[in-house]
């Protein structure tokens, strides 16, 4: 039924025994990360669906709730994440061309920018807490819209940005591991797929924010 073929033996230390080549291993990693990102699209998707429905039901409440968010901090955070995506892409590039310094520098930049983002988020959350905008028993709203419906807006705000922030924290952890590996010179033009694959995750988390920002911060800014 079948003949046999001697598998090629690559002796790169990063090649795992069940793969035939580094190329096959890298392709599997990349495909794997994309499959995982598809699951993340569906995961966040449920929240976006809830957002769409409740915004359709409570336009005035969403208008008011959004207006109360700090647009400067939101826009600043958006810029920070876009910068971090640039540094991440440059870190992958540095690995592709074998620049250890480039990898370390750009990864540190990515981590710092991620930290800045989380710091700003923490400030925003603290402000909300002070203003009684955390949904639940202590929620208070003094605007014109129905407080019950504005509370739904803030439920979505906290759940969506909170879940996003959790993903950022995990991303920072991953970046620290990659940074350490880059410091130990583990990557080369022949083997850099962990950097690439971590970059995919990081960019995805940036994309989620690209949608969160206008949907949460930019409703009804006019008038």
């Amino acid at each position: 039924m079948s003949e046999t073929v001697h598998p090629e033996h690559a002796h790169h230390p990063a090649l795992q025994h069940h793969f035939d080549s580094l190329e096959q291993q890298a392709e599997a990693s990349t495909l794997g990360m994309w499959v995982f990102l598809a699951t993340e699209i569906m995961f966040f998707g449920g929240l976006f669906l809830a957002y769409a429905i409740y915004r359709m039901w409570y336009p005035v409440a969403f208008h008011e709730g959004s207006h109360h968010l700090d647009i400067t901090l939101g826009a600043f955070n958006t810029a920070a994440l876009i910068c971090s995506s640039l540094t991440m892409a440059m870190a992958v590039h540095a690995a592709q061309v074998g620049s250890r310094k480039g990898q370390i520098g750009f990864l540190i930049g990515t981590i710092i920018l991620g930290g800045v983002f989380l710091g700003v988020k923490a400030i925003e959350y603290a402000e909300k807490f002070r203003d009684h905008l955390i949904p639940g028993h202590h929620f208070q709203w003094h605007g014109e819209a129905n407080p019950r419906n504005v509370e739904i807006f803030y439920t979505l705000y906290f759940t969506m940005t909170g879940l996003h922030a959790l993903h950022m924290i995990v991303g920072m952890g991953i970046m620290l591991v990659i940074l350490w590996m880059a410091y130990r010179n583990r990557f080369s033009p022949q083997y850099y797929s962990p950097v690439e694959v971590s970059g995919l995750y990081w960019h995805f988390v940036d994309i989620i924010w690209i949608f969160l920002f206008p949907l949460l911060y930019l409703i009804g800014r006019h008038g």
Partner: protein, 98 residues
């Protein structure tokens, strides 16, 4: 590994475009376009996301399989949105018909 090496210049160009689009979306938010505000904001977001996916995430240089996997996530999201909204949008039609 046979990964395509994108030039840093292209990365910086994309970065600049993303920043400009961010400024644009903030600016447009202050203009009253009624229903178009949401449409414009989402369109800009989709463009930004597409740039990140194609260039930062290298999908433009990836295999068709990668493209299919990325697209299928979005298609499935559309399915979930679409059919759920079929319910939410048609609630109350029975009463309206009477």
């Amino acid at each position: 590994m046979s990964g395509h090496v994108v030039s840093p210049r292209l990365y910086y160009l994309i970065f600049g475009t993303l920043m400009a689009l961010t400024a644009l979306t903030v600016g447009v938010a202050f203009i009253d376009l009624k229903i178009m505000n949401t449409v414009v904001a989402l369109t800009i977001a989709v463009i930004k996301a597409t740039l990140v996916v194609l260039f930062f995430m290298h999908v433009k240089y990836s295999t068709r399989l990668t493209w299919v996997v990325a697209a299928s996530g979005i298609v499935w999201l559309a399915i979930m949105f679409g059919i759920t909204f079929a319910d939410y949008l048609s609630r109350g039609w029975v009463n309206a018909a009477q």
